[in-house]
């Protein structure tokens, strides 16, 4: 192939095109100006979304990656531009979200001189990236970007940061075309599947009387939703999800027994400590899922399927660790396991569900109080969308309520900050989620705390005209912390009383339609209006100030000590 002269900046953009990363979220600045100058000529092939803050840019990239299944691409400049990415990188790292972040850097000859807007972003981001690299010479760019995209999406996905000095962006070099990367000698994206472990797992499952499947985002990241469904259906096993596994299995699937963990459902938590075989698929036994570890599923044989060998035995010892990509391991298990009727075991879950409904859920979604509850808002959203929308949540009480009650028919519909718990995530992530799934309705459910952390991204919505439905559930408190202060700190409400601006007016200032609901009688119409509206819409719902999220596994307690009130 004939070579042509390209600048480093052009090579960066050629790589994005070659990798199918046609939507980029970013913010320009001094050290990344050459790339933005090149971008000026690539407008027909790349869509650049100008955000209002780099943190908004990276969360948007995360939302995009989560709904589209592709790698999110983020541009930022050096110094503060780069450090503003750190929260998003940490979030993407712990939630295994594939991202390639390109940051500008000062000229190579200025490195280490405390130059204007110089920061050592490679060392700052080392613990929160799957891989990072500093480019000082343009000839490295095609190869390094190919490596970056490959690392971001393969194996257990994660964020990659490439820091490019300004001289490398400007430098012209002989471009020999773009070759995607599919192998790095020191990197094994997935471990080899071992047949004896498959056999051992199959035997355990076949001999189990009360098996429980618990699944996480691994099923979604591995694009193994179908394989997972076949696996649980063949032997009739109940399946419970972690917050990031949500939507991998439709809500109304008869074997979907609900959510695990601190604010999860009653049955799956209690019965984790009664099952005889616990089959964990693509999940990492986070402390919010396990509660007290020394009292977690001690009676059960644990089978752990994970693509990342370092997850096996990390928190919970596995009797059988099935390493590998679950898209490949699940069919092997399905092949071996026997068809079984486990309706009696499923009935036990149903009884717990009924008990939870009577004591907890009913009052949350059909409240008898005058005050509105978050649960009833989500119920009405379900009734209106029929479970077809993408729901993006922030962090806190509304997140737990939305994840507990939102209904989903299809995968990649739940976007939330799970591991890191990043308040301020939802608004920018919803923008990205919409760009990643343009044909779907995207609803951002946000608390009155979280919205104020990244509210500037309303500007991004204004400028791009992206259609995002923003639903603020306002309880006039930092509700989750308040709930803990009530339950564990004798109601000493220390700095949780947060005031809000007039959100509808703020939205109007950005040219976004909006309304506020204070009385229940207006709620259903308001939600219908929001969803029927063409373009973005902000709906603020005033909910009960001191409502708590239940059930709850108090910190330091076993999952079987879950409280219904």
């Amino acid at each position: 192939m004939a070579t042509k002269k390209l600048t480093g900046s052009q090579a960066v953009l050629e790589a994005c095109i070659a990798e199918g990363a046609e939507t980029i979220f970013g913010y320009p600045g001094g050290a990344i100006m050459p790339i933005y100058d090149a971008l000026y000529d690539y407008n027909d092939q790349l869509t650049h979304i100008l955000v209002r803050h780099e943190q908004g840019g990276i969360h948007a990239g995360q939302g995009y990656a989560r709904t589209s299944g592709k790698v999110g691409v983020v541009f930022a400049t050096s110094g503060p531009g780069a450090t503003n990415l750190v929260t998003g990188l940490a979030d993407a790292m712990i939630d295994s979200t594939p991202l390639v972040c390109i940051t500008g850097q000062v000229f190579a000859h200025l490195l280490g001189t405390d130059a204007f807007q110089e920061t050592d972003i490679i060392n700052i981001t080392m613990p929160v990236t799957k891989w990072n690299y500093q480019v000082t010479d343009a000839t490295e760019i095609p190869g390094i970007l190919a490596k970056a995209f490959y690392l971001a999406r393969s194996g257990r996905p994660g964020p990659v940061l490439i820091d490019i000095t300004k001289n490398a962006q400007i430098q012209s070099f002989d471009y020999e075309g773009y070759t995607p990367c599919n192998h790095i000698r020191s990197y094994r994206p997935k471990p080899v599947i071992r047949k004896n472990f498959i056999d051992e797992a199959v035997e355990l499952i076949n001999n189990a009387q009360k098996p429980l499947v618990i699944f996480g985002q691994g099923v979604i990241l591995g694009k193994a939703e179908k394989e997972f469904k076949k696996f649980i259906e063949k032997s009739g096993m109940p399946a419970a999800w972690t917050i990031l596994g949500l939507s991998a299995l439709p809500t109304d699937h008869p074997q979907n027994v609900g959510m695990l963990g601190m604010h999860g459902n009653y049955g799956p938590n209690v019965l984790t400590n009664e099952c005889d075989v616990l089959i964990a698929v693509g999940m990492r036994f986070d402390d919010r899922v396990t509660g007290r570890l020394d009292k977690y599923a001690k009676q059960a044989k644990v089978i752990h399927l994970d693509i990342d060998p370092s997850e096996i035995d990390k928190n919970v010892k596995a009797h059988v660790g099935v390493w590998g990509d679950c898209k490949e391991t699940l069919p092997l298990l399905t092949l071996g396991i026997q068809q079984k009727d486990r309706s009696e075991w499923l009935k036990v879950f149903a009884d717990y569900t009924q008990k939870e409904y009577d004591q907890c859920i009913k009052e949350e979604i059909y409240p008898s109080t005058e005050e509105m509850t978050m649960g009833e808002v989500i119920r009405i959203v379900n009734e209106t969308t029929k479970g077809n929308a993408v729901v993006v949540t922030d962090v806190g009480q509304h997140q737990m309520v939305a994840c507990r009650y939102a209904k989903f028919n299809q995968t990649r519909s739940n976007v939330t900050s799970g591991g890191l718990g990043t308040m301020g995530f939802a608004l920018p992530a919803a923008i990205g989620a919409k760009f990643g799934a343009l044909d779907r309705t995207v609803i951002a459910v946000i608390g009155d705390g979280g919205i104020q952390m990244t509210i500037q991204e309303l500007g991004t919505i204004m400028q791009t005209g992206v259609d995002v439905k923003i639903m603020i559930l306002n309880n006039q408190f930092l509700g989750m912390v308040r709930q803990w202060q009530q339950l564990f700190n004798d109601k000493r409400y220390s700095f949780v009383d947060i005031q809000s601006p007039d959100y509808v007016m703020v939205a109007k200032a950005y040219g976004i339609e909006g309304s506020k609901v204070v009385h229940r009688k207006d709620l259903q119409t308001a939600i219908q209006t929001m969803l029927a509206h063409k373009g973005s819409y902000l709906l603020e719902v005033m909910v009960g100030k001191e409502n708590n999220v239940f059930p709850m596994v108090p910190q330091g307690c076993s999952v079987s000590e879950i409280r219904l009130k």
Partner: protein, 200 residues
């Protein structure tokens, strides 16, 4: 399943690409967990472009297992093992600088050299530098012996270690050189022998 929570010395051996910043990537795996690194050696291995780290920590089996898996997870790490002291042969090197007049007047140099297996690596009019290799206790002994005679400077290298049971990584490294597809990496054949040489 072993649940060993007793702390002891472990030697971690890591083969890596030669890449700027990788030392830090490995170091933060320890510092994040507040694990003190007792000794750290990094040098080129027998294969060009591949470095070998030898890291000594005082930790429990469970912790070391997890740490080693995190190390091996790093993109540019080819392989990581961990071993107890009885599974390895190891040495440290120590240098001792003493004043010539002290040592020639008060101590019989030959006796010292013979008793501690030391070599004189530099003999000057004003000072002499001795060298010994051995385990920590052995190099310490000579340090103690020289202390009364005006030990001016002392320095000890990090530990370097060879794994007794391992058939060696040399052949595997050559395989890596041939850029074989990652699927064929060997780690799994050692899986049944968790307690032996390989970590996974």
């Amino acid at each position: 399943m072993e649940t060993n929570t007793e702390k002891q010395e472990y030697t971690i051996t890591v083969y890596t690409e030669n890449q700027v910043g990788l030392l830090n990537r490995i170091a933060i795996i320890f510092s994040r967990r507040k694990i003190n690194v007792e000794s750290l050696n990094t040098s080129p291995s027998e294969i060009a472009g591949i470095h070998r780290f030898t890291i000594v920590v005082m930790e429990s089996h469970d912790v070391v297992l997890k740490v080693v898996r995190q190390i091996e997870k790093q993109v540019e790490v080819l392989k990581a093992y961990f071993n107890t002291n009885d599974e390895i042969v190891w040495q440290e090197l120590a240098l001792y600088k003493v004043l010539s007049e002290e040592i020639t007047e008060k101590v019989k140099v030959e006796r010292l050299l013979r008793e501690y297996g030391a070599r004189a690596v530099a003999i000057r009019k004003d000072f002499i530098v001795f060298e010994t290799t051995g385990h920590r206790e052995e190099t310490n002994k000579l340090m103690k012996a020289l202390e009364p005679f005006g030990l001016v400077e002392f320095v000890r290298s990090a530990r370097v270690a060879i794994i007794k049971e391992s058939s060696g990584f040399h052949e595997k490294l050559k395989d890596f050189e041939k850029k074989q597809p990652s699927e064929e990496v060997i780690e799994n054949e050692y899986l049944g022998k968790r307690e032996a040489v390989f970590t996974m």
